[in-house]
């Protein structure tokens, strides 16, 4: 019997999924081991494989999402890097382009953004290209050799090179790369023209430096993981999730470590898309709730939206202007807000209830975990309201203590606000819903997308406990809770295609483009993509897109471009797609001339999806416990169903709770939940 293994390492929990060739799934959830993440990976995998009755040698594919790259960047613990740029711009990274947002703008004591490369490891070489790649000043070989010598003396672990206008002509970067590699054998040299050949030197340099900074750490981790899995008998290839919704080989992931940023949340969005597709629904909103954050993303026509303006290390991770270092990688356009199960509730000096942004995290964790946490969290409120089973979360691996939740809520919320503990818990739960709902708001309403026609897909152990209420705010009537929602991202990994994406700058008015030149550029980028995947043109899906704007604008939009021959009709189709996209985002299109900024090619090698089916109908009978529903008059006796006892076609009317080892589903009054043929749970709201 063969099987697939999916492992998602998050900040608090490591989630495991084993799916055998009969579609049977086995789930596992255990605490992450931050000092040695591979430890929980291997332990959890062996445990789940044993429970599934699958021999390690029968695993045919391992798909993995990791927070390693994100953590290395946030904690600044990458390898020592030297940076080389054009003469005159040695301070490019140390000056940086930090944006101050939100509260930081009033902070007179703000700090400079810490450069990943200290000033004494930044070098410049005399050379200059013009904007179209014309050589204005040739590379000074003597000066370059001297710089290479000085770098050799530093003993750095990798070198990043970003020269001005190298996106248009890599000639000087390549020559410098040759000189560095000859003098520094074994030290990786990363060129900006290879990593991200697009306009804007600071963004390109930051992305290049981060690749050099994280790459060796990622390579070391994946080598070690491969060895340890091999030692226990798992010899299948390891695929690593990228931020853009695909997976890549371990070898490619080592070279492109920055592309694994936000890989876990991206896997969640893929899972949501897949869940929708299984139910025949193309337009879904992914809502994924974790311990410290909640994530939301839009999926239309079964496809997650992508962004190319991702930032890490600011006040919030996501596309847009939230501060932090720009990492130019294709990323699923998700928004992550700092509210989750571990977010702490407090009362500000004006007497207003607040939730977050501080989180109790995994250590000490919510008060009810009994690990020393004394501040009330959203999880404590959920426990007091009767939504969570006191017998424990994460398959019973964490026991809960309601008395500690009560004490924490009394001291920090109920007391100061002069209300009962239950009222306080209800207020915390509702406010958390409002804050997490903001993530949904940002990806929909703020982008001009009407959320009402979407189905919300709830992921994460706590996601389905809050999802129906969040849906109500947006007048969404359907919430889909997939089988294995508590390990949803890990499951998503197994339905993810092997993917690569590359881009190239091409700045010109759309109506002045030479179709033959565009075709040649697209072919070159496509060839590089195929080389990434180490495959031929068979069995792959090639997708093209173009970044464009109205001539004169500073911001651009990415629009899909047709496959097939590049001719006048192709260019016209790109123009039409741009006007349509623009109208959708900004209200109306205008007859202005369109300017192209870059072309992109995405190549996918589809994998057979691991479709999971749960038959159910054999679990414990339902029980009852009191739970809080304001719209049912407060605390009411509530049926608690065990998910594995529900069979296809079963329908549960709210108020009710559906419990599974890794997750809890709350079905509020006026909602009902129906088990579909695959075992997914569809919550629907009765309008009336």
């Amino acid at each position: 019997m063969s099987a697939l293994l999916g492992v998602d390492i998050g900040g608090t929990f490591t989630d495991i999924v084993v799916v055998d060739d009969g579609g049977r799934a086995t789930f596992g959830k255990l605490l992450t081991t931050p000092e040695d993440p591979a430890a929980a990976f291997v332990d959890g995998a062996l445990d789940a494989l044993a429970r599934a009755g699958v021999a390690p040698a029968d695993v045919t594919r391992v798909a993995h999402a990791t927070t390693l790259a994100t953590n290395v960047i946030l904690e600044r613990r990458g390898v020592p890097v030297a940076f080389v740029t054009t003469a005159g711009f040695r301070s490019l990274l140390t000056l940086g382009r930090a944006s101050r947002t939100g509260d930081q703008r009033f902070d007179l004591f703000f700090d400079a953004e810490e450069s990943p490369v200290p000033e004494d490891r930044c070098f410049e070489v005399p050379e200059r290209l013009g904007p179209l790649g014309v050589v204005v000043e040739p590379l000074d070989e003597t000066a370059a050799a001297a710089v290479v010598d000085r770098i050799a003396e530093l003993g750095v672990a990798s070198v990043a090179v970003c020269l001005l206008h190298a996106y248009a002509n890599p000639v000087h970067e390549r020559r410098l790369g040759e000189l560095l590699e000859a003098r520094l054998p074994g030290v990786p040299v990363v060129l900006s023209s290879e990593v991200w050949p697009e306009l804007r030197e600071h963004d390109r340099a930051a992305t290049t430096v981060m690749s050099a900074y994280v790459g060796p750490v990622m390579a070391g981790y994946l080598d070690d993981l491969g060895r340890r899995l091999g030692a226990v008998g798992v010899r299948a290839p390891i695929h690593v999730m990228d931020s853009g919704g695909g997976v890549m080989s371990a070898a490619l992931a080592s070279r492109r470590a920055v592309r694994t940023i936000e890989s876990g949340p991206a896997a969640g969005v893929v899972a949501a898309a897949r869940t929708g597709a299984r139910a025949g629904i193309g337009d879904v909103l992914s809502f994924d709730m974790g311990g410290t954050t909640a994530k939301a993303a839009v999926v239309r026509g079964g496809r997650p939206e992508l962004t190319y303006d991702f930032r890490v290390g600011g006040s919030a991770s996501g596309g847009g202007h939230g501060g932090g270092l720009p990492i130019k990688v294709p990323a699923v356009d998700l928004v992550e807000v700092g509210s989750g199960g571990g977010s702490i509730a407090w009362v500000d000096p004006a007497g207003t209830l607040r939730v977050g942004p501080r989180s109790a995290g995994a250590d000490p964790g919510p008060a009810c975990y009994g690990r020393g946490g004394t501040r009330p969290t959203v999880t404590d409120a959920d426990l007091m309201l009767g939504y969570l089973d006191p017998a424990g979360v994460a398959g019973g691996s964490v026991l809960l203590h309601p008395d500690r939740s009560e004490a924490a809520l009394q001291e920090h919320v109920a007391g100061p606000l002069g209300m009962s503990v239950l009222e306080a818990a209800a207020a915390v739960h509702d406010l958390a819903n409002a804050l997490m709902g903001d993530a949904v708001h940002i990806v929909t309403v703020q982008r001009g997308i009407d959320p009402r026609r979407f189905t919300l897909v709830a992921l994460g152990g706590a996601g389905p406990m809050h999802a129906a209420r969040i849906a109500e705010r947006f007048a969404i009537d359907r919430v889909l809770v997939p089988v294995g929602t508590g390990v949803g991202s890990a499951l998503g990994l197994l339905t993810t295609d092997v993917t690569t994406e590359r881009s190239h700058a091409l700045v010109a008015p759309l109506d002045a483009l030479d179709p033959a030149a565009v075709a040649a550029l697209l072919a070159e980028v496509e060839r590089a993509c195929l080389a990434d995947l180490e495959v031929g043109t068979d069995d792959v899906v090639v997708e093209r897109s173009v970044d464009a704007r109205y001539r004169g604008q500073g911001h651009d939009l990415n629009v899909g471009a047709p496959s097939g021959e590049v001719n006048a009709a192709w260019l016209a189709a790109v123009g039409d797609a741009f006007h349509a996209r623009y109208a959708e985002r900004y209200g109306s299109a205008t007859p202005r001339p369109v300017e192209v900024v870059a072309v992109r090619v995405r190549v996918r090698q589809p994998v057979p999806p691991a479709d999971v089916t749960v038959t159910g109908g054999e679990g414990r009978p339902p029980s009852k416990r009191p739970a809080w529903f304001a719209d049912a008059g407060g605390f009411v006796p509530t049926e608690v169903h065990h998910r594995d006892a529900l069979a296809a076609g079963d329908c549960v009317s709210g108020p009710a709770i559906v419990q599974e080892p890794e997750a809890t589903v709350v079905v509020p009054p006026s909602w009902s939940a129906t088990v579909d043929i695959r075992g997914d749970l569809m919550l629907e709201r009765a309008r009336g």
Binding site: G88, F89, R90, S91, L92, T94, L95, G96, R97, A98, S99, R100, T101, G102, D103, Q104, R105, F106, D107, L108, F109, F110, A112, G130, P131, H165, Y167, L199, R200, E201, H202, D203, H321, G323, D348, P349, A350, G351, T352, L353, A427, L431, A434, D438, H441, V445, Q446, G448, V507, Y550, G552, Q553, G554, H555, R585, Y586, G587, S588, T590, R592
Partner: protein, 522 residues
């Protein structure tokens, strides 16, 4: 009103302003505002109150939309507004800033009556006047600064007039379109809130939102020691007359309120550096906010505990027809003077003076076949803080960061310019126990003939240190003719002709130092 509804409505109001700002910034054509540096969006009500302000745009406009909506309501009572109305204005003496900052208002109706407004503002590409891109550095009256607009309906006829008066009508019209797209987005969001909660609950939520903000500010003010604190700033000159000018402020903290009085400030001048009242208020409130909890929202409730007095006819509240296009110099002087005053009220939060914003415009000459325009700014060093060095090349500019400095490659692609270097000037931060942030030097090689317009301050009187710290190194504008050395240009000049092959150099000032450096004597 229950806690949750209040919280949901507060968030929704701020998001409505935010959404309007995102649309306007991303759809704009003026490259000056691409990073949100000279833009604003807000929700206001029919009583002229600021309900919510976008958090992602410049705080230099925290008061601009509030001040402007007052004039709109004066000229157009809400009862006279009808569906489809969109209003535009820029009158500096009635809430506006300067000619190029266009303000757009769009009403939100409840039962046919205008109750709320979405407002947006950006610095548009060009609206006439005697210097391309606006902000003529040596204007002597407002008529040299571009077309003036009282609050009027934005009609197709008006757009024709504006287009005829612009050097780059296409981009200007694109900017107006972006402004309207922004207010439309804001109105749509408000309409949805009214549909969801009802107008009366929304109105109640707004009162609650403003009252809570006021309570938060008052709570913070109590933590400042009662007393009278004075601050000042000496402006080098106004660019026309060779004399320095004084900004004076007296902040009196009493209990949970404060008076901010600018009596003692020099009279207005027939030079560009006057600050319109809305800008003076924005500067004062920004600096005051820096001593309050940063999470307090910007709205009318935040303004209430303060009594700000600005004598009419002074540099900070000029009378017509004094020009206002170079106002940022006086506005930064306001910010710095208030920071200095409050540094005494909160010695633990004290800061030394920073290098101020250093803007410049390079533009094609009249005979150029393809007109081009590069408007940008550089930042000076941040003044040292108690316990901390200043930050290099970032300034203390309404919370703006270096993301506002353009990247080199797009500039070179758009204009016949080659940026040869962007360097940190070593040793430019004022010495002290804590060192001021360093200034920067940026060198542009002109590949074509051009005109340069620029204005800055603190080049003669560099950013002073605090408590014995040394001043920062003064910056300046320079030209280097082919084969020659750097020649210092005036600090405020308009339409300086430069030739292909010349280099235009912008040096920013270092920040002031803080405290006496160990091992030295005062």
């Amino acid at each position: 009103m229950d806690e949750l509804t209040a919280a949901v409505l507060s968030n929704a109001l701020v998001l409505a302003a935010e959404e309007a700002s995102i649309v306007v910034v991303r759809a704009a054509f003026s490259t000056f505002i691409v990073e949100g540096s000279d833009a604003a969006a807000a929700v206001l009500d029919a009583q002229g109150r600021l309900v919510a302000q976008s958090a992602a745009t410049s705080l230099a406009h925290a008061y601009s939309l509030k001040a402007s909506v007052a004039s709109l309501l004066e000229d157009h009572p809400p009862a006279t507004m009808v569906a489809g109305d969109v209003f535009v204005m820029n009158d500096s003496y009635r809430g506006g800033i300067h000619a190029n900052d266009l303000v757009i208002f769009q009403p939100v109706f409840v039962d046919g009556e205008a109750r709320w407004f979405a407002g947006t503002l950006i610095h548009v590409a060009d609206l006439g006047g005697s210097s391309a891109g606006g902000m003529h550095a040596t204007a002597t009256d407002i008529f040299q600064e571009g077309v003036q607009l009282p609050p009027v309906r934005l009609t197709p006829e008006l757009l024709k007039i504006l287009a005829l008066n612009s050097r780059s009508p296409d981009e200007m019209l694109g900017d107006v379109q972006a402004l309207v797209a922004g207010t439309t987005a804001g109105c749509r969001r408000l309409d949805a809130l009214i549909a969801e909660h009802g107008a009366e609950l929304l109105a109640e939520g707004i009162e609650e939102h403003l009252d809570r903000t006021e309570r938060l500010v008052r709570h913070e003010l109590v933590t400042l020691a009662d007393g009278t604190y004075r601050g000042g700033y000496v402006i080098d000159d106004d660019g026309i007359h060779d004399q320095s000018l004084d900004i004076a402020v007296t902040v009196t903290v009493a209990g949970d309120g404060a008076t901010v009085d600018f009596t003692g400030t020099s009279p207005h001048v027939s030079a560009a550096i006057n600050s319109s009242l809305s800008q003076t208020m924005s500067g004062a409130f920004y600096a005051l906010r820096c001593f309050l909890d940063g999470s307090i929202p910007v709205n009318d409730g935040m303004f209430r505990p303060f009594d700000v007095r600005v004598p009419e006819g002074c540099l900070l509240n000029p009378r017509a027809p004094m020009p206002t296009g170079g106002r940022f110099i006086a506005v930064y002087a306001v910010v710095d003077a208030v920071l200095e005053a409050l540094s005494q009220a909160r010695p633990d939060r004290a800061v030394a003076a920073s290098g101020i914003l250093t803007p410049f415009t390079l533009a094609s000459v009249e005979s150029a076949p393809t007109p081009w325009l590069q408007m940008a700014f550089e930042f000076g060093g941040v003044g040292a803080r108690r316990g901390k060095d200043g930050v290099d090349g970032t300034g203390m500019h309404f919370g703006l960061g270096r993301s506002m400095v353009p990247q080199v490659e797009p500039v070179e692609l758009r204009c016949p310019l080659r940026i040869e270097s962007v360097e940190v000037i070593d040793g430019s931060g004022g010495d002290g126990r804590w060192r001021g942030g360093r200034g920067t030097r940026t060198t542009y090689l002109l590949l074509d003939d051009a005109v340069a317009t620029f204005r800055c301050d603190r080049h003669r009187n560099p950013p002073p240190g605090r408590e014995g710290g040394q001043p920062g190194r003064p910056g300046g504008y320079f030209v280097i003719h082919a084969g020659g050395g750097p020649e210092r240009l005036p600090d405020k000049a308009a339409n300086v002709r430069l030739s292909a092959g010349d280099r235009f150099v912008i040096e920013t000032s270092g920040g002031g130092g803080f405290g006496i450096q160990e091992g030295t004597t005062a």
